[in-house]
C-alpha cells in the first residue's frame, strides 16, 4: 500500500509494541460504553416489548416493580399473594380474559434429580397457568402438545436444550425444605411437549396447569394403594386402627400424577382461596380496561397495574443511573484523549528527524499531518472494531446464558 496511509501502517507495524499498548488503551475505553449501550438497548427493548405484551396485571399490593418483574420474568416468588377468588372477581366482572400465574416452584430434570439435589445445580421456574397464557404469548408446541391435564408440563425451548428434554422425559420439583417431615412430597412431572422458541423468558421456563402447582404446594394430593407392594421395606408391619396397611416414609419419595391415578387427585377446601402470584387481565376493550383500572385504583389490597408503565418507570431509573455513568465516562474519555494527544505529541517529537527528511525530500506540507492522523484513525478504527466485537460477544453471551431480563417479548 502506498501513500501516507501505507507509511502509517508500516510505522505502526514496525513499532508494534507501542501500537498494541495504544490499541489496548483505546479498546478498554471504548469497550465499556459500547457494551453498556448495547446491553441497555437490548434490555430496554426487551422490557418494553414484554411489558407492552402484557396488558394489565393483578397482584397483591406491595412493590409494583417487584410484582411486574417477577410476574413477567419468573425470577422468583413474589412474597405477597392473591387468591383465586381475586382472579375470579375480574372474570365475573366481565372485564376480559383472566390468566392466572402461579410462580413459586422450580423444577429439575428427573434423571439427575439426586445429583442435582445434592449439588444444587441448574433448575428452571415452574409456572402454573392455563392455556390462555400460550395464546397470549403466541406460544405453540414444537414437539408434543400443550399441558392439557393435571400433572403434565411443557418446557420452553431453552430449558429443553439445556436439560436435553423431549416429550416423555420427566422433571421433578426442587424440594423446598429437605429436613421437614411435614413437607409436601416432590412431584414427578412428565414432559408432554416442548415449546417453539420465541426468544423471550418463556423459553427458559416450564409451564403446567395452575392446579399442578397447587399440588406441588401440597394443597392437592392423590392416594396410592400400598397393599400390592412386594418390597417389605416400603410397608410398615403395623396397621392403623382401622386395620389398614401403612406405608413407611421410604415409599413416597416422589408423587406422580399418572393417567391411572389422576382421578384420585383432589383438593381440600375451596379453590377460591388457593394462592396465585398474579393474574394477567386481557381487557375486552379500552373501555373495560379503563373501568377495571378505575375500580382497582382505590383497592387497598390489590394492584391492577399496566406493566408497560411500570417498566417505563424502571427504565427511567436505569437511565438516570446511566447519566451519572455517562458523565464519568466523558471524564475518562477526555483524560484518554489528553493521554493520546500527549503520546502523539511525543511521537511527533521523536519523529522530528523523519518528518524533516520528508520535508527535505519535498513531501507536501500535509504529509506530516496525515502520517500522524492516519495512525490515530487506524488505531481508533481497530479499537472500535475490537470493542464492538467484544461488546456484541458479551451481549450475545449474556443473552444466550439466559439472563431473562434481557429477553425480548
Amino acid at each position: 500500500m502506498s501513500g501516507t496511509l501505507g507509511l502509517a501502517l508500516r510505522h505502526l507495524r514496525f513499532h508494534w509494541g507501542r501500537s498494541l499498548i495504544m490499541l489496548a488503551c483505546l479498546t478498554l475505553v471504548l469497550v465499556l460504553p459500547i457494551t453498556v449501550n448495547l446491553l441497555l438497548s437490548q434490555y430496554q427493548t426487551g422490557l418494553l416489548a414484554r411489558g407492552a405484551a402484557t396488558p394489565l396485571l393483578l397482584g397483591a399490593r406491595g412493590s409494583r416493580v417487584d410484582l411486574v418483574l417477577k410476574s413477567l420474568y419468573f425470577e422468583s416468588d413474589y412474597s405477597d399473594r392473591i387468591i383465586e377468588s381475586d382472579a375470579n372477581a375480574l372474570r365475573e366482572a366481565g372485564f376480559g380474559r383472566v390468566i392466572p400465574l402461579h410462580i413459586r416452584h422450580r423444577v429439575l430434570p428427573h434423571t439427575n434429580a439426586e445429583l442435582e439435589r445434592s449439588l444444587k445445580l441448574d433448575d428452571a421456574p415452574l409456572v402454573g397457568t392455563d392455556l390462555s397464557y400460550f395464546e397470549l404469548r403466541g406460544l405453540s408446541a414444537a414437539q408434543g402438545s400443550l399441558p392439557l391435564f393435571l400433572g403434565d408440563a411443557v418446557v420452553g425451548a431453552r430449558v429443553a436444550e439445556r436439560f436435553g428434554l423431549a416429550p416423555g422425559d420427566h422433571l421433578v420439583t426442587r424440594p423446598e425444605r429437605a429436613y421437614d417431615p411435614g413437607r409436601s412430597f416432590q412431584l414427578k412431572i412428565p414432559v408432554v411437549g416442548v415449546l417453539a422458541p420465541n426468544g423471550t423468558t418463556d423459553d427458559a421456563a416450564v409451564f403446567a396447569d395452575v392446579r399442578t402447582t397447587w399440588v406441588v404446594d401440597g394443597i392437592g394430593h392423590g392416594h396410592d394403594t400400598v397393599d400390592q407392594i412386594r418390597d417389605p421395606s416400603l410397608v410398615s408391619r403395623e396397621t392403623d386402627s382401622n386395620g389398614v396397611l401403612v406405608a413407611t416414609p421410604k415409599l413416597a419419595r416422589l408423587q406422580e400424577i399418572t393417567p391411572q391415578n389422576r382421578a384420585d387427585y383432589h383438593f381440600h377446601g375451596d379453590t377460591a382461596g388457593f394462592p396465585l402470584t398474579s393474574a394477567i387481565l386481557v381487557p375486552n376493550s379500552d373501555k373495560m380496561r379503563t373501568i377495571a383500572k378505575a375500580r382497582y385504583g382505590s383497592n387497598e389490597t390489590l394492584f391492577l397495574l399496566e406493566p408497560s408503565a411500570v417498566i417505563q418507570e424502571v427504565m427511567g431509573l436505569v437511565f438516570q443511573v446511566k447519566r451519572f455513568y455517562d458523565t464519568n465516562l466523558l471524564l475518562v474519555t477526555i483524560s484518554t484523549a489528553l493521554f493520546m494527544a500527549l503520546v502523539i505529541l511525543l511521537s511527533a517529537r521523536l519523529r522530528q528527524s523523519e518528518l524533516e527528511t520528508l520535508n527535505k525530500l519535498g513531501s507536501p506540507r500535509r504529509t506530516a499531518f496525515w502520517l500522524l492522523a492516519w495512525e490515530i484513525i487506524v488505531l481508533l478504527s481497530i479499537s472500535a472494531l475490537i470493542a464492538s466485537a467484544l461488546g456484541l460477544t458479551l451481549n450475545w453471551l449474556v443473552s444466550s446464558q439466559g439472563i431473562s431480563l434481557l429477553s425480548a417479548a
Binding site: 502506498s2 501513500g3 501516507t4 501505507g6 507509511l7 508500516r10 510505522h11 507495524r13 514496525f14 513499532h15 528527524s353 523523519e354 527528511t357 520528508l358 520535508n359 527535505k360 525530500l361 519535498g362 513531501s363 507536501p364 506540507r365 504529509t367
Partner: protein, 234 residues
C-alpha cells in the same frame, strides 16, 4: 509559479544561477552573500571551505530547501526565490536528487521502500518504478539487501540506498551534502566511485559539499565558499 519570474535570458546550458543572494538564519550572526554564481549543465562542482562558511546553506539554496532573503536563485530554469512553498516542494521532489551525510533513511521501511519513498508520498508506486528501483539497487550493489531495514545494513549500504533514492527520478541536478562524512576511507572511495559513475550515466549536474580534499580531483571545479563575494562561473 508566476510566469514573470521565469528568466527569458537564462542561457540554455546554465542550470544554476545566483545573483546578489543574501541569506541569514534568524537570530544568528551567520550571513551568506553570493554576488554571482552560475553552474553549467553536467558540471561537477565541489563546495569546500571551513565549517560554518556556508557550504551546506549554499547547497540548500540551490536545492530549494532554503529561500534567499534577497537576490535571485535560478535552478533548472525555475526561479526559486519567487516560488511558493508548494512549488519548492514539488521542485525538490521531482527535479533534484539530494544525498545527505546522515543518509536520512526511514527506519521502519525496507531498503526498497526507502528508495521508492517519493513515489510512496505521491500515493502510487508503479510496477515499472519498482523494477527501476531494483535495477538501480543492483547497479549500486544493494540489490540483495532490498528487503532489509536500514538498521540491518552497513553504513556503506545505507548510503548506497540513499543514493538510489536520490537518483531514482533521474534528476538533472544531484546535490550531496558530505555524503562520505560518516564513512571509512575505503567505503568513501567506493561511494564516490559510485556517485561519479551514476552522474556520468545520467549526465546530470553534480554539486557536492565536502571537507575531504582527497575527493576533489574528480571534480571539474572546487568552489571555496569563503570567496562567494566574487563572480564564479562553472
Amino acid at each position: 509559479m508566476d510566469p514573470n519570474l521565469q528568466s527569458p535570458r537564462l542561457e540554455r546550458r546554465i542550470l544554476i544561477k545566483m545573483r546578489d543572494v543574501e541569506f541569514s538564519y534568524p537570530g544568528e550572526d551567520f550571513r551568506l552573500g553570493v554576488r554571482a554564481l552560475s553552474f553549467a549543465e553536467a558540471a561537477r562542482v565541489a563546495l569546500i571551505g571551513p565549517s560554518g562558511c556556508g557550504k551546506t546553506t549554499l547547497a540548500f539554496l540551490m536545492a530549494g530547501l532554503l529561500r534567499p532573503g534577497a537576490g535571485q536563485v535560478w535552478a533548472l530554469g525555475q526561479a526559486l526565490h519567487g516560488a511558493t512553498d508548494a512549488e519548492l516542494r514539488s521542485f525538490r521532489r521531482n527535479r533534484v536528487g539530494f544525498v545527505f551525510q546522515q543518509f536520512e533513511l526511514l527506519d521502519y521501511l525496507s531498503a526498497e521502500d526507502n528508495i521508492l519513498l517519493s513515489d510512496h508520498l505521491e500515493g502510487h508506486v508503479s510496477r515499472a518504478r519498482r523494477d527501476q528501483a531494483r535495477k538501480l539497487a543492483e547497479r549500486v550493489g544493494v540489490g540483495h539487501r532490498l528487503r532489509h531495514r536500514p538498521a540491518t545494513l552497513s553504513q556503506g549500504e545505507r548510503q548506497r540506498v540513499a543514493i538510489c533514492r536520490a537518483l531514482l527520478h533521474e534528476p538533472q541536478l544531484l546535490i550531496a551534502d558530505e555524503p562520505t562524512g560518516n564513512l571509512d576511507p575505503d567505503t568513501s572511495e567506493l561511494i564516490m566511485d559510485l556517485l561519479h559513475e551514476q552522474v556520468g550515466r545520467l549526465g546530470c549536474t553534480f554539486v557536492m559539499v565536502t571537507h575531504d580534499h582527497a575527493l576533489l580531483e574528480r571534480f571539474d571545479h572546487c568552489l571555496d565558499c569563503r570567496a562567494l563575494s566574487s563572480e564564479h562561473s562553472v
